[in-house]
Symmetry: C4
Subunit: 199 residues, 4 copies
């Protein structure tokens, strides 16, 4: 594994923590090492201050309980890597905007972002007139079931939300995933603010 | 007393102040030294920049006015340590979310947190389907009366709120208490935001 | 003049700027040197990065236009020092909470803060049951008229607001004034949030 | 070109990024070099960490597609420099307040700021009783059309908004433009908050 890859995840964790996106030791981060393996953060601990020993290399093909030190949410990461060969990195965090919009604004299992210039921060989006769909799934402690459900519903999306839980955001690289986190968080705050004003 | 214990409280104070949880020299921090004693911050001063001399060792058994330099709220800390042998550290701060939710959203003397993944940051909580109850008490300047009331009403809870005043949050260690503060503050902000949207 | 006095104001300016209370080169800071004189920031410039040459010593007795380099709002500072011999320092800043509460929530020319533990951060306040009255004045570009009006209406108050403009907060020392700024800003944010929820 | 000019833009980018005004590699910055040329940031990249090589010198007179490495929004900058010889620097960023106020509060194609002391931060404004008009334009991916429209509608204004996109703010110098950004963002947040409370 390239040391640069964990260095990028360590920096991403520091940045996410500074933005308040990894409260109370929540969240987990991963990146694809090669066709067969990913590196993923271990369970618990402060992801704002990750060390090289806070990562595990895991086989993408594992379709059952994760290795003992791995985050309980590892199966969700692996399912996404299997389903979407274009994904190179996944950043999972918790924010007030993603927690609330996923609980309150998911219409038909998705939040549609449209009319915002910042949509163009998502890879492949060329105009604010595009409709970027973010799928929203019910939260569950049954990781195998959740992984299967998520895997079936994320074709084409740059991110997903778990209701009352937080966001999973990905990209071809750690840098792309970071840019997507920043754009999604900005746009969900806009949506939450608009919902406030409608009520 | 282990120097490490005051070091942990000094770091917790710096972190809480940076989060805006100790405005205007408010708040106080403590940790259990052994079965008979706790260390607690002295009255006044900026808890974001604590020094070793800003702590007092106090007998847990004292059931009356605190020593002269001790914070006026010391009896509340002591009552909690006596009532709950599992408590190793207590962090008391003020935040806009805890001030307002305690005044506006306490239903039957408590705020119930449910449906949030971040509840799992509280020790012993395994699912977002759990209902975490945070007791809310009327504020009072009569510390002896308040300590008695609080002592009778905190069995099992990870924190309490004083209406219009702020939060008391605890844990087995200073690290646990910090994680609980971060989770509680996040969840109270979610609750406040939901209340805004309902009205 | 004690160099320590300008050092305290320089530190207060750095802190206020970091809190977003001195946007766009706004605000001004002063402290009483002795019975006859005060030191006050000069006009313009970034008060988050004050230098010793950014201060002027001005006679408290001047009851007309301020010296040429002095802030246009110097007459307001001087009127407060003349009216209230207990004032040792004045911090004037702009915040969204003080701008909006002064425009929207002033009832009978004042905002009354009550039921908050943090009221006790104001010198002389012993209980959350106290009613701390913050007078609110119409904004004006006529500094002489404004100074006269303000001078007549601030007996006993720890601060005043100018509608759509910002706050003037004082204390016996720079440290007291800082603590009062922090408490006032916190409490005005609470009041603004409550007003949001009522509407 | 004076190196000082890019240094000022680098510092402005660092400051804007720290304020959250350049999310997800958005935004672009420019300054007038002389009567014929401007310096402008290249496309993409994190404008919070600009390097000297992240700038291009471009002829103000170019009235077509920008040079290949230049930001796609360069034509908008150039149109403003041509239309307004008083403009020495332009800062373009995205914020939640400018995104939402431009979508929700533009009345007759403009937002009028009045009754705020902080209006005086805009060059030439002497009183809070002034009405500062900020023109708001529909967003477009057709830069040539947008540049023409904007050019026809910004006489006298210190800034413009693009609906759902963000702000363009200018001044005679980089320092003036920064002060204008800070004042505009503050005042748009006030307007957004007032709109919330009205609904």
């Amino acid at each position: 594994m390239r040391p640069a890859l964990t260095d990028e995840l360590i920096a991403a964790g520091r940045w996410m923590a500074a933005q308040g996106l990894l409260p109370a030791t929540s969240g987990n981060l991963s990146a694809r090492v090669d066709r067969a393996q990913v590196v993923v953060t271990t369970s618990g601990g402060d992801k704002g201050n990750l060390q090289p020993e806070d990562f595990l290399v895991v086989d993408i093909g594992i379709d059952g309980p994760p290795p003992s030190r791995a985050s309980a949410e590892t199966p969700l990461h692996l399912a996404l890597y299997r389903r979407r060969p274009d994904i190179g990195a996944i950043l999972h965090g918790h924010s007030i905007a993603s927690t609330l919009t996923s609980q309150l604004l998911a219409d038909g299992g998705r939040i549609v972002l449209s009319g915002y210039e910042l949509e163009k921060a998502f890879a492949g989006v060329r105009t604010h007139e595009a409709a970027v769909e973010i799928p929203v799934f019910e939260n569950s402690q049954d990781m195998a079931a959740l992984a299967a459900e998520v895997s079936a519903g994320v074709a084409g999306a740059p991110a997903l939300l778990l209701a009352g839980h937080g966001f999973y955001v990905w990209g071809e690289s750690v840098a792309d995933a970071r840019r997507h986190v920043e754009a999604l968080e900005f746009l969900l705050r806009c949506e939450l603010e608009k919902a406030r004003m409608r009520r």
